[in-house]
C-alpha cells in the first residue's frame, strides 16, 4: 500500500506545482512543464490529513547533547536515502557528516574555547538557505527552492556540471563520481537511487514530511539533539528551543541565510 500512496502524493504534488509555475518557466519547460521549478509550491500541501507543512522549515541542533563517536543520525539518513558508501574520501557521498567546531565555525573558534566544546562532533547538513547560492548558479534549475524553504534537487534534470558544488559555501553537496548502486549497502525501494554523474544532498526528508513523518535524523537521535519545525510558527519545537538559548548559524556573514541553527 505505502508505495502506491506515495506515488499518488508525488503525482498530486507535481500537478499542483504545474499550476503555479512562473509563466516564463513553463514556456521553456515545454514537455516537462509538470516538473517542479524555482518558485513551485510544496507538494506537502496535497494531503492535508497527514502531510506536515510549514511556512519555513528549519532545524536546531543542540550539539551539547551529541555523543562522541555517535553516527545514529547519519546512519538513519543514509539508509533512508540510499546513500552509497564508497569507503574512500574521493568518491564520498554524504548528506550528513560530523566535523569539529574549528571546521564548522572557523570565525567563531578561538584558542580560549574549552576543549569540551572544541572536540564536540558537530553534525553538518545542507543549510536549506533562504538565499541559496546553489539555486542561483544552477544552469538548468535542477536545484530549486520550494515555498517552504526546502532546497531540492531534480535528479532527472541535473547535468552534473557541479557549479552548485563550487557555489555552496558549506561543502554540503556530493557528486556521484561513479555508479552509486553497487555501493548501497541495502537498497530501499521507497526512495529513488541516483545515477552516476548527478549531484545530491540532504532534502530535509521532504518525502517523509509529505507522509506526516519527521526527518529520519530527528527521529534517530536518542538524545533528542535535533529539533525540526516551522521557524515562522512561534509555537513550534524549533522556535521554543531558539527562544531560550543563544544560537549560531554557519558563515552568517555570507548572507545565505542558513535555516540550520546550532547551540554549542
Amino acid at each position: 500500500m505505502a508505495p502506491t500512496r506515495r506515488e499518488f502524493l508525488k503525482i498530486a504534488g507535481v500537478s499542483a506545482a504545474g499550476l503555479v509555475l512562473p509563466p516564463l518557466a513553463s514556456v521553456f519547460a515545454g514537455a516537462q512543464a509538470g516538473m517542479p521549478a524555482a518558485g513551485g509550491v510544496a507538494p506537502t500541501g496535497s494531503d492535508p490529513r497527514s502531510a506536515l507543512t510549514a511556512k519555513r522549515w528549519g532545524m536546531v541542533i543542540d550539539t551539547r547533547k551529541c555523543r562522541s563517536g555517535c553516527t545514529d543520525c547519519i546512519d538513519a539518513c543514509h539508509i533512508a536515502h540510499n546513500v552509497p558508501n564508497f569507503g574512500n574520501p574521493k568518491d564520498e557521498i554524504r548528506w550528513i557528516g560530523t566535523e569539529k567546531m574549528a571546521h564548522v565555525f572557523p570565525a567563531e573558534t578561538h584558542p580560549r574555547i574549552p576543549e569540551s566544546i572544541k572536540s564536540l562532533p558537530i553534525p553538518v547538513f545542507c543549510n536549506h538557505c533562504e538565499n541559496p547560492p546553489c539555486v542561483r548558479v544552477c544552469p538548468t534549475q535542477a536545484t530549486f527552492q520550494r515555498a517552504d524553504g526546502i532546497v531540492m534537487m531534480d535528479y532527472h534534470r541535473c547535468i552534473g556540471c557541479r557549479f552548485c558544488m563550487a557555489a555552496c559555501p558549506y561543502g554540503s553537496r556530493s557528486m556521484n563520481f561513479r555508479d552509486p548502486r553497487p555501493f548501497i549497502p541495502k537498497i530501499d525501494p521507497a526512495f529513488p537511487t541516483r545515477t552516476k554523474g548527478v549531484v545530491e544532498k540532504c532534502n530535509f526528508c521532504e518525502e517523509r514530511l509529505a507522509q506526516g513523518i519527521l526527518p529520519a535524523c530527528v527521529i534517530a537521535c536518542s538524545e533528542k539533539a535535533l529539533s525540526f519545525g516551522d521557524l515562522e510558527d512561534p509555537g513550534s519545537d524549533v522556535r521554543r528551543v531558539l527562544d531560550g538559548k543563544f544560537s549560531l548559524r554557519r558563515r552568517q556573514e555570507l548572507g545565505t541565510g542558513p535555516q540550520i541553527y546550532y547551540i554549542l
Binding site: 521553456f28 521549478a37 574521493k90 564520498e92 554524504r94 548558479v137 538548468t140 559555501p169
Partner: protein
Amino acid sequence: MLEKALKGSRGYGIWVAFLLLLTGIGFFFYWKQLDYGLGITGMSRDVSWGLYIAQFTFLVGFAASAVMLVMPYYLHDFKEFGKITILGEFLAVSAVIMCVTFVTIDLGRPDRVANLLLHPSPRSVLFWDIIVLSGYLLINIVTGWTVLESEKKGVPPPAWVKPIIYISIPWAISIHTVTAFIYAGLPGRGFWLTAIMAPRFLASAFASGPALLILFCLILKRFTKFDAGEKAIQTLSKIVAYALAVSIFFVLVELFTAFYSQIPGHTSHLTYLFWGLEGHNMIANWMRVSALTAVAAFILLIIPKARTREPILALACGLTFLSLWIEKGLGLVITGFIPSPLEAITDYIPTGPEIAISVGIWALGLLLITVFYKIFVAVRTET
C-alpha cells in the same frame, strides 16, 4: 576553400596524422570515462573541478585575445596586422571549439546537455557564458571565412562584414568577463571572490594569446612561404610584454590585499598556491615555475635587442605561454577549492586518463588550427 586542406607536403601529412592519433587516444579514454563516470579523474568531493574546467578557462583567453589583432587593424587602421588578423580569428574559432569540448566532457550527464536550452536559467552565469561563447564562435567563423574568401577572389570584403567585426571587439571582452564571473560571484570561495578577477583574466589572455600567435607566425615563416612581417611580429611582442606586465602586477595586487590585511579566508588559498599548506605543496612547486618563467619572459620581452632576435623572441613567448598555462590552466581553478569550506586540504592530482583526454582535446584544437592555417597560407601564397 576546404579542399586546400586536403593536399600538402609529407611533413603536413605526418603532423596531421600525429594530431589525429592523439585525438583518438583522448576519445578512447573519454569512452572509458563515460562508462566509469567522472571518478576516473582526480576530481573529488572537495576539489570538484579540475583540469578540464581549468583548460576551458585558459582557452577562453585565447579566444578573447583575437581582439588584440582586430582592434588595431580595424579600429586604428594598423595595416601591418592586415596580414595576420585572420590568423587571430581562426585561433579564436579553434579555441572556442576546444572550450565547448572541455565543458562538455566535464559534465556528469552529457546526455542531458540539451537541458541547458530546455530550461534556460538567466540567473546562472553559465547561461550567459553559453550565449557569449556561441555568439563569439559564430562571429569569428563568419568574419574570418568571409574575409578570406574575398581575398581568394581578389575582391574587398563585403560591407556587411564590417559591423560584425566591430561587434566582435566588445564581444571578445565579454567572453572572458563572463567566464571570470563564474568564479568571482561565489560567496564561499575567498580565492575567487575578487573584483579584479575579470581584469586579471583579460590581462593574462592578452599576453598568452598573442604569444602563441607569434609562435605560430614564426612556425609558418619557417615551414611555409607565408611571412607575417617583422613589424607585425614586433608589435605583437610589445602587446605581450605590456599585457604580461599588467598580469604580473594584478597578481602582486592580490598578494598585497591578502597578506597585508591578513584575513585568513584570503591568505589561506594564496599560501597554498605559492608556498603550500601542511606539506601539500605540489601546486606551489608548479607556481614557482610559473612565477620564474613570467619574470624571465618579461625581461626578455622588454629588452629590444633580445626581443628582435627571433630565437629569443620564440623563447620568451614559450615562457609566457608556460607561465600563464600553469597560472590559469592549473592553479586558478584548483586553488579555489583548497582549503575546502570545511577547512580540509585535499590534494588534486590529475589521473592518466584525465590527462590523455585533455591532451586529445588540445590535439583536436591544434588540428583545427593546422587546417585553418593551411587553407590560409594556400590562399595567401597562391593568389
